[in-house]
């Protein structure tokens, strides 16, 4: 055997464990879901058979699917810009030399390390009517009592706020790291030129942070479609599907109704949606991003 062939085999052998894991737990399930989405749900006496686009037609006629899509878009529009803006603000602030900086950084990061289920249970009591924390604050200012999670008008906002609170600290860490990588000489130069704090941020810091922003944005988009843990605890999709997000609905169809074929079709739509967004982000935004 030649040296080159040995090297090739070595290379492949080294790749094999990771590849096998990826293929078995990521690629194969995705492909299997895609195939299953064209089949009927297997029942004990009726094995799965090919049904073509039936599941997708069912989806188009399913009002709850459309509701979940709309909810998810609002949820994404609420969480993505707000959590990124908040993360940037917090990062710029704790990047300065202020007293108790470590403590503030830790405080901002805490929501990220708490398990979502525990967090959701705490927020459940914040939102509780009458004696919940939010009610007590509103009540102290003479406001009216609101059933935050129990009303179709406010439930989606309530779960969106929890998501923002949970995510902002995580994104802050990336911004903080990026800010510290910016050479101090730039700040000194700006100071000599007499640039204001805002101009320095807008003209220097923010453009240099673009690669981080892109990375954070992609994560935020994925999370907007992936974060549903708190829905289970806080609303279970209610009232009347007002907080049903796409992934929550997939779980409900798959493991509540055991309609695995329809759940597979829904999963494909979610995958396609995420792929499209990632494509746009990489293809379009990346060209406008300045890498050092």
């Amino acid at each position: 055997m030649t040296n080159r062939a040995t090297a090739t085999i070595h290379g492949w052998l080294l790749l094999l464990p990771a590849m096998a894991c990826l293929a078995l737990f990521t690629h194969w399930p995705a492909v299997a879901s895609f195939i299953d989405s064209f089949m009927s749900t297997p029942r004990a006496r009726r094995p799965a058979r090919f049904v073509g686009l039936d599941n997708y037609e069912q989806m188009l006629a399913d009002p709850i699917f459309w509701k979940a899509m709309a909810n998810n878009l609002w949820f994404a529009m609420g969480t993505i810009p707000a959590s990124i803006a908040l993360a940037l603000l917090m990062a710029v602030w704790v990047n300065d030399r202020i007293a108790g900086r470590t403590l503030v950084r830790m405080a901002y990061f805490t929501p990220t390390i708490l398990p979502m289920i525990a967090v959701a249970n705490i927020w459940l009591f914040f939102f509780t009517p009458q004696y919940g924390l939010l009610e007590q604050i509103v009540g102290a200012f003479g406001g009216r009592s609101t059933n935050w999670l129990g009303s179709q008008d406010t439930a989606l906002y309530a779960v969106t706020i929890v998501a923002i609170w949970k995510e902002a600290g995580f994104f802050m860490i990336f911004y903080l790291a990026a800010l510290q990588a910016i050479p101090p000489s730039l700040g000194e130069a700006a100071a000599i030129e007499g640039a204001s704090r805002w101009t320095f941020f807008r003209r220097v810091q923010f453009p240099l942070l673009m690669p981080t922003t892109l990375f954070v944005l992609i994560n935020a988009v994925i999370n907007a479609f992936r974060m549903v843990d708190h829905i289970f605890v806080m609303t279970r999709g209610g009232p009347d599907n007002a907080t049903t997000l796409l992934l929550f609905y997939i779980y409900q169809v798959g493991f509540g109704f055991w309609d695995t074929a329809y759940a597979a079709a829904l999963t494909c739509v979610l995958l396609a949606l995420l792929a499209l967004v990632a494509f746009v982000q990489y293809g379009w935004l990346e060209r406008r991003t300045h890498y050092q």
Binding site: Q130, G150, R236, F257
Partner: protein
């Protein structure tokens, strides 16, 4: 290799491993999934039962596996069934019976009922609990941790409002009248204390079934293939519930969270609440005021649904394992143990005989409220259960929540729910 083959292969390997073990140890191992749905040291109690059973039956090893909530437990049990190695025995919702039959995941208990003694045992349960356990002339589940909906009231607040603290409301009219007296509003129009609270998050259909039974309607047939959501009685029941909040303003508006309802009661934010008997022990431990427990007020008639979990036998288990599981089920449902289980958890004891035992008599002498659930059983009906149960009940839940949050009128909301249920169930008839 396709996925089914792959799963089959895994199952075969797992199966051969499982079979190899008893041959060596000369004993049947009994895996047993159970959920925890109420407060209290349930896992410790179950472990103690398993140990007690093993002592009396040296050939059998019981392996209880805590599997989360009811929902998580059925997900795990059915996933295990589909991959080939399900638990021999599981405690799942009584309403999951049709789903489990449709998945061919369970076997009926009938083949194990051989002797006269067995027959006597099977007929010893409260008939109200058996309604959700039998269909098509077969018994598919054995009642274990069962409950029903009751009314809890705060005697202190009754006294403050000038009501007799020993008299709970007996009818819908009284319930409304009492609730009006018990609702406190400040000058700005904010409510500081509600008269009554019926939780509506998660599974509003269960509590709603109390109202519909009282209005004389039955939500689904015994075969589980037809619902009657648009029945005038059902709409009347929903109108009563909606009116409590929107017209009379004695019930909090919007959706009332199931989980925080007992807490609202402890905080005196509500004077009367509807919730499960499974909360008895919880309320007894945490209410800092005298409280009463009563059967639900009657509409046209009294009534409540039953609820909770049954034992199910896995179809894929070996006959020896099934036999061992049956033995365990018989053992744990004897009157003495059923009584102890009821006293420890607050669940309703599943047989009338359990209420005649010494342990139970001692418990209720000290805590007479525990008898209310039993007294309600003669008027109790089967919990709503159909084929594709979760999907069909979700249609009702969505309609109820739409009406309670004011986006739909009760009539159209129930008509929509019925249309959706009809679409799903058509193929089962």
């Amino acid at each position: 290799m396709d996925r089914r083959e792959f799963l089959g292969g895994t199952a075969a390997i797992a199966g051969s491993l499982a079979m190899a073990r008893p041959a060596l140890a000369q004993s049947a191992e009994l895996s047993f999934f159970y959920p925890v749905a109420v407060g209290g040291p349930i896992t410790k109690l179950i472990d103690a039962y398993a140990a007690g059973f093993e002592k009396e039956n040296p050939g059998i090893k019981v392996k209880p596996i805590y599997a989360g909530t009811y929902q998580e437990t059925i997900v795990k049990a059915l996933t295990a069934h589909k991959s080939g190695t399900p638990p021999v025995l599981s405690v799942l919702l009584s309403t999951d019976m049709f789903t489990l039959i449709d998945e061919e995941a369970i076997v009926p208990f009938d083949p194990f009922i051989k002797t006269e003694d067995d027959k006597k045992w099977l007929s010893s349960f409260f008939p109200g609990f058996m309604e959700n356990s039998q269909t098509g002339g077969k018994t598919w589940g054995i009642p274990f941790q069962r409950s029903t909906v009751v009314l809890y009231w705060n005697k202190e607040l009754f006294k403050e409002a000038g009501l007799d603290p020993e008299k709970p409301p007996k009818t819908w009219a009284e319930q409304l009248e009492f609730a009006q007296k018990l609702t406190k509003r400040d000058a700005a129009g904010n409510t500081s204390q509600w008269g009554i609270q019926i939780p509506s998050s998660g599974f509003p259909y269960w509590l709603f079934q109390g109202l519909t039974t009282q209005a004389g309607a039955i939500l689904a047939n015994a075969a589980g293939d037809k619902t009657d959501y648009a029945n005038p009685g059902v709409v009347e029941a929903l109108q009563y519930w909606v009116d409590l909040a929107q017209k009379h303003k004695v019930h909090p508006p919007g959706i009332v969270e199931w989980g925080t309802t007992p807490r609202d009661f402890f905080e005196k934010k509500v004077a009367m609440m509807w919730t499960t008997t499974g909360n008895l022990t919880n309320v007894r431990a945490n209410a800092k005021f005298p409280f009463g427990v009563a059967v639900l007020p009657a509409g046209k008639k009294p009534g409540s649904p039953t609820g909770g979990g049954n034992f199910y036998l896995s179809k894929k288990a070996s006959p020896a394992e099934q036999e061992a599981a049956f033995k365990f089920v018989r053992w744990i449902t004897t009157p003495e143990r059923a009584a102890q289980w009821s006293a420890d958890t607050g669940y309703v004891a599943v047989t009338p005989a359990a209420y005649e035992t010494e342990a139970m008599k001692k418990y209720v002498a000290d805590f007479p409220q525990a008898l209310v659930a039993r007294d309600q059983l003669p008027t109790a009906v089967a919990e709503l259960s159909t084929h594709e149960n979760q999907r069909v009940t979700k249609a009702l839940n969505d309609g109820l929540q739409a009406a309670l949050t004011g986006t739909k009128q009760p009539g159209p909301a129930m008509a929509d729910a019925q249309a959706e249920a009809e679409r799903i169930l058509k193929s089962y008839r």
